[in-house]
């Protein structure tokens, strides 16, 4: 397709001025603007309406296109982010190519930011003049469609990934669920009870885990990671690395004798260091799949070359010390990232004594301690085996703190209440909560707070300043002393307790940036994956066909995480059910007559859409991968690349139009 090189003489341009109620019309003198616009070259007709985006407004545009045989349409209204698609559709319904339409942002760029009415009118005139000048150069573009592969990749087997996998598998899609740990279950598998209903996490999670393991449509790939992603919406190619487990899962019966016999003891990551695991291990008793892997870094055989105790006892001969990583390439049409969160290590706040005093616990350590299958079998115990007589729970550990994480981690207030309840239930200890604000926003949450107030828990309105073991008198000896102000009574408190539980901030996985790069999505402030729109597209991303769910997007509780898992599944379902996707037509294109093959553009493309055609010795752009960002077009020293819908002529004409009162 060649671009226009000469300005067409005859165009019939229709300009539609939206009042947006008083949003625009209250500042911009619309009748005066209409009068001015009518005299611009090429303008066939001008009309105005209170809400152009409404059905009557759209009908006005459609009727005018037919009646006046318009060749180009300009709507001066709000931001194209809001209604460009609305008006493009209206144009298309009236038989006009959607790319023969221009939207002028007369609201965000003008009426909302301009007080002086004369200046606002002037700016509106300038913007419309620019659009009219550009309209001459616009060309109809062809929108292509490609098929969508119905298979789905889900990365992360926490509750979000599990829920999405089950929903999609039920709808008949083939789901590849990739989990890097030995078992699915994620962080939720570590929890004891769940707030505010206090049902046990395992009771509600493990049935779902088992379903995942048994579902014929789910290919559960644990101990695996994604190496590489290529392709585009509907047609991704993904290379998955199966890490060497050293155990042949086909032969392994999951009897567990190997774990019993293995002589190596290591602090268990699943138990947050409070308990031990073996070098051949499953994460926990109800692991899915229930087949162990060997931790090669700590296995005596891999370190010293001998041991093989597990092999000796393994009846089905499932141990395979020579196993190597294998890479498998799969094709999927859509991807859900449900990679969860990382718990911030509070070591950076030395005043709270994390790592210094053994009875200062992280929130997940407490979850494991309170969990009946955890290292203490659910007993709340101090390091010396005693039951605590008093416990302080410190809120906002590294959250709402500009020095660490500025955001609120959102779940800590509620699980702190849950902790308080569990401690009261299991011990005679008194519980103190140091909080800045109690944030109990969800269904049944405020009621749970009330319940805890009745359970005789002490709430101290103030952030704990420090934890120390320096006793000032006999009653403090052997205790941890928490210092803080109760801001309500305006008293400085010196509180000796036996145990301190922190509410560590929830932060993005440590490799979130890397994963984002791999899947061509962005990270927002705080490092969490960025959604396409916080309200209207919360599980979509800037990369079409890639969706996000759960705590990888921002800290959230289980109900919200599950809801997002289902939301992502439904988005994938809609995409695959339609079976086709439109490719963006505003892509870049290489003029073969001009490209010298200098290869400047190659490394610049953020979507790897440009390749070098060795035969023709020029660059070639893959339409399906190109997002039309224009980086290559701007950089090309030959100007041999042009971005459709944003050609040099179009941009220069618009600039000329905006800056020059006589076009």
């Amino acid at each position: 397709m060649a671009k226009i090189t000469k300005k067409p003489d005859k165009e019939k341009i229709g300009v539609f001025l939206c009042h947006c109620g008083t949003n625009i019309a209250g500042v911009v003198d619309i009748p005066a603007l209409a009068g001015y616009t009518r005299d611009l070259p090429g303008v066939e007709m001008v009309d105005e309406y209170k809400f152009m985006c409404s059905q009557p407004g759209q009908d006005l545009i459609k009727d005018s296109i037919k009646k006046h045989k318009l060749t180009k349409v300009i709507v001066a209204a709000c931001s194209p982010l809001m209604h460009e698609n609305t008006f493009r559709k209206a144009c298309e319904e009236a038989g006009l190519n959607r790319y023969c339409f221009i939207m002028v942002n007369n609201r965000e760029h003008n009426s909302w930011v301009t007080e002086d009415k004369a200046l606002a009118l002037q700016k509106a005139k300038d913007l419309i003049r620019g659009a009219v000048a550009r309209a001459f150069w616009l060309e109809p573009l062809e929108v292509k469609e490609v098929g969508v592969n119905p298979n789905v990749l889900i990365l992360g087997g926490g509750i979000a990934g599990i829920q999405a996998a089950l929903d999609l598998a039920e709808s008949g899609r083939t789901v590849y669920l990739v989990e890097r740990e030995q078992s699915i279950g994620g962080n939720m598998a570590k929890f004891d009870k769940t707030f505010p209903t206090l049902d046990c996490a395992a009771c509600i999670l493990t049935p779902k885990m088992v379903s995942v393991g048994q579902h014929p449509n789910i290919k559960l790939w644990n101990y695996a990671e994604v190496d590489e992603v290529s392709g585009f919406v509907g047609n991704f190619k993904v290379k998955v690395r199966h890490k060497a487990t050293s155990v042949n899962f086909e032969k392994c019966t999951g009897c567990g004798i190997c774990q019993e016999k293995c002589p190596v003891k290591r602090p268990s990551e699943f138990d947050e260091g409070l308990g031990n695991r073996k070098a051949i291990y499953t994460l926990f008793a109800q692991a899915v799949p229930n087949k162990p892997v060997i931790d090669r870094v700590n296995c005596t055989y891999y370190i010293k070359g001998k041991c093989k105790v597990c092999e000796k006892f393994c009846e089905p001969k499932a141990i395979d010390f020579e196993m190597k990583d294998s890479v498998e390439e799969i094709e999927v049409g859509s991807i859900i990232l449900a990679t969860g969160f990382h718990l911030w290590e509070a070591g950076q706040m030395p005043e709270l004594g994390m790592g210094k005093y053994p009875n200062v616990l992280t929130s997940l350590q407490f979850e494991r301690m309170s969990n009946s299958s955890g290292p203490t079998l659910g007993k709340i115990l101090l390091k010396d085996g005693r039951e605590p007589e008093s416990v302080a729970i410190l809120h906002c550990t590294g959250s709402r703190d500009v020095n660490y994480h500025e955001y609120c981690s959102r779940v800590c207030c509620m699980y702190a209440l849950k902790f308080a309840h569990l401690i009261k239930e299991k011990t005679k200890a008194h519980v103190y909560n140091f909080y800045i604000d109690m944030r109990c926003f969800g269904k049944g949450y405020e009621e749970f707070y009330h319940r805890l107030l009745e359970e005789n828990v002490t709430f101290i309105r103030g952030k704990a300043a420090s934890v120390t073991d320096r006793a000032e008198n006999e009653s403090e000896s052997g205790k941890l002393i928490v210092m803080g102000e109760d801001t309500l009574s305006q008293k400085l408190l010196r509180l000796p307790v036996d145990m301190v539980i922190l509410t560590n901030a929830i932060e993005p996985q440590l490799d979130a940036q890397e994963v984002a790069r791999k899947f061509k999505i962005s990270c927002a402030g705080g490092g969490f994956f960025l959604e396409k729109h916080p309200k209207l597209a919360p599980v979509a991303t800037a990369s079409d066909g890639v969706f996000i769910a759960g705590a990888c997007q921002s800290p959230k509780d289980i109900p919200d995480t599950v809801a997002q898992g289902q939301a992502a599944a439904s988005a994938v379902f809609a995409l695959t059910q339609r079976g086709k996707v439109e490719l963006e037509a505003t892509t870049a294109i290489v003029d073969e007559e001009l490209c010298s093959g200098c290869e400047i553009c190659l490394s610049l493309c953020p979507y790897q859409a440009i390749s070098h055609n060795a035969e023709k010795k020029i660059s070639a752009i893959n339409d399906a991968l190109c997002k039309g960002c224009g980086t290559c077009a701007a950089a090309c020293p030959s100007k041999a690349i042009f971005a459709r819908h944003y050609t040099n002529q179009q941009i220069l004409a618009e600039l000329e139009g905006v800056l020059n009162e006589r076009i």
Partner: protein
């Protein structure tokens, strides 16, 4: 067909353009076969008065080389335009200003100051500067006025064809002679004797990945003799320059300096080259980028060596 009448002139330039015509070797005999040279100060005896005496349109083709820097250059350009059917801007100076136009970075006063007062080779105890009119006992002597700004030929007269190069490559000059001989002239305003693609198209060097962490001047670089110079951190403006020269400089292991001028779709040769060079810096750290950028010696002279009067982006 009657023999063509052709003329050639040398304005603000180095004379290399005149020599380039002779570089065509035996081809010059073909020129003699199809054309009579009516005016070519460097090669043929002729006077301005002959030119003035000619009828309008009497000359078929004028090859005009050199930029316009004095009143005399402009006067002759106008005279030749009037007498010629076809006006060809010959060489980089006539086409786009060329090396002399780097004078546009300063003004006439500073040039005089440098040339007549500051230059160490001067012997000018009385501090004399040339005057457009000087009275001597024999009468009044006149000199053409030096302009404040060097101009392209097409800023003074209408130009029919542009033949770029510093100087134009003899093979391309020969091609143009062939075209003239064939009588099949391209549309007016065309660039002739050059390609529509950038130099990279005919560059023999290998390209791998354009990511540069350091820029070096050619004399300080360890050129491997086969990899794209830009990839080796040597600023080569071939990416933003028309091909046609068959990569003469590259074949002598020197970077392209841009004499064939801006590409057909580009608006500003220096800006194109600059944005290309900026695109390949392999860093996201503003401080490191600044350091790398500062390694480029004489950016204006590098990116606008030949085309300063063509510059759209004012620095």
């Amino acid at each position: 067909m009657a023999k063509l009448k052709i003329a050639k002139y040398w304005a603000d330039g180095c004379g290399g353009c005149d020599v380039s015509l002779l570089d065509t070797d035996a081809k010059i005999l073909e020129v003699a076969a199809i054309a009579d040279i009516v005016f070519w100060p460097i090669a043929v005896d002729g006077k301005y008065s002959d030119l003035e005496a000619a009828k309008p349109g009497e000359i078929d083709i004028t090859f005009f080389n050199g930029a316009i820097h004095t009143a005399e250059h402009e006067h002759i350009a106008q005279l030749m335009r009037e007498k010629s059917k076809i006006m060809v801007a010959y060489g980089s100076c006539a086409c786009m200003g060329g090396i002399p136009s780097l004078a546009n970075t300063t003004d006439r006063e500073s040039i005089f100051e440098t040339v007549y007062h500051l230059a160490p080779s001067n012997d000018n105890p009385r501090g004399v500067e040339p005057q457009t009119r000087t009275k001597v006992p024999e009468g009044v002597l006149s000199l053409p006025m030096l302009y404040e700004r060097v101009k392209r030929l097409d800023e003074c007269v209408e130009v029919d064809y542009y033949l770029p190069g510093c100087p134009p490559f003899y093979k391309r000059v020969a091609d143009v002679i062939d075209v003239i001989a064939s009588g099949k002239l391209p549309p007016k305003g065309s660039v002739v004797g050059a390609k529509d693609k950038a130099l990279c198209e005919e560059c023999p060097r290998e390209r791998h990945e354009k990511k540069v962490k350091e820029f070096k001047r050619p004399q300080f670089a360890q050129d491997d003799g086969k990899t794209c110079l830009l990839e080796q951190g040597i600023v080569c403006v071939g990416v933003a320059t028309r091909g046609g020269c068959e990569a003469r400089c590259i074949n002598a292991n020197m970077p392209c300096r841009g004499c064939y001028g801006l590409l057909p779709e580009a608006m500003d040769q220096g800006a194109s080259a600059l944005s290309a060079v900026a695109s390949i810096i392999d860093s996201n750290d503003p401080k490191e980028i600044e350091k790398v950028v500062n390694q480029i010696a004489d950016p204006l002279g590098t990116f606008y060596r030949f085309g300063l009067p063509q510059q759209r982006v004012r620095i």
